[in-house]
Symmetry: C2
Subunit: 171 residues, 2 copies
DNA sequence: TATTGTTATACTCTATAACTATA
DNA sequence: TATAGTTATAGAGTATAACAATA
């Protein structure tokens, strides 16, 4: 047997390894995400995008502009408007117009929103601890490091971009 | 300082570790999934659920019943009907009624569907290899093993279930 | 003219529940 | 009465593009 078939079969095996790894990675992540979505819905009547938006605001107590939220959440402006509308109607966030640029809108958590988010965040963290408890502290650190490597690679392969805002009136 | 504050801060740190790990895991997976979705759409005008359904059929050349597809894909029957309708209209799958139970419907790939799926699967596998190329063969094996541990844990925590089919006429 | 945010629309994916046909 | 699949409906989440107000 020449080296060529070995080389080829090694390549095939490595492809197979990558695919199997991806399927397992996706399955584990999707399971955890599903549990989180269900529990957020069942216990707080909220959704992951709403939670994520509030999490951004909690990290920026002075408020964020709609456009900044759009970029950080990696979704288009229309979506941010919709989610913000819901949260505002429930009194969890407020919109403010900065005097220096009246085109803009700052979104902030209300005191009630902050209280609500902190309650949810604590519970949420408990869920994550529970769901990742299959890993020891050392294993968690290993995975964190390995994912760090992957993250760097992914940034090169196909840089993450929020959906692009087309402007102007051209077709 | 007593041992209690140390214990508490260790617990807090470990919670923080789990949360950071989850955020990174989610970010990496979501990025890869997003790339795959975009490319499936751009190059094959298809979607992940459609791809997944065809993948199931490719593994079961004799066909699968709608209910089996529903279980394997972890979605409700109505969804499977909808996706199958699309694929059937495009000539990629066919429905067959088994003579022994005419309530049932077997879904199979057509020859054209099989050709199309194989083309997509090869390209798809290449994308996965590319996206996971940040990891060496050894690192991939490590992650695979670590995810295996997590998978076992998750099965205990909150067993995965396909959406339950409610039957009968009770409210 | 450019930018910010909003609105209107459409599409995919999902679940629920009533319904039809068969068993 | 139970089961398999379909249909109808609803709702989340997303993107696109036209639009108004402001710069």
């Amino acid at each position: 047997m020449s080296a060529v078939p070995d080389l080829e079969s090694r390549v095939v095996d490595e492809h197979h390894q990558a695919l199997k790894l991806w399927l397992r990675l996706l399955a584990c992540t999707a399971r955890i995400e599903g549990v989180i979505r269900n529990r957020l819905r069942g216990e707080f009547e909220t959704t992951l995008p709403r939670f994520d938006l509030m999490a951004q605001l909690e990290r920026h107590p002075d408020g964020l502009a709609m456009g900044e939220l759009s970029q950080r959440l990696m979704v288009t402006g229309g979506n941010v408007t919709g989610i913000t509308d819901q949260l505002e109607a429930e009194g969890l966030v407020q919109r403010l117009v900065p005097p220096d640029d009246r085109r803009s809108t700052l979104v902030k958590l209300t005191p009630a929103g902050r209280r609500q988010f902190r309650k949810m965040a604590t519970t949420h963290e408990g869920w994550i601890v529970e769901l990742l408890d299959g890993w020891s502290v050392e294993e968690k650190a290993q995975v964190q490091a390995l994912l760090g490597i992957l993250k760097l690679h992914l940034a090169q392969v196909d840089p993450p971009t929020a959906p692009v805002r087309r402007r102007g009136k051209r077709a």
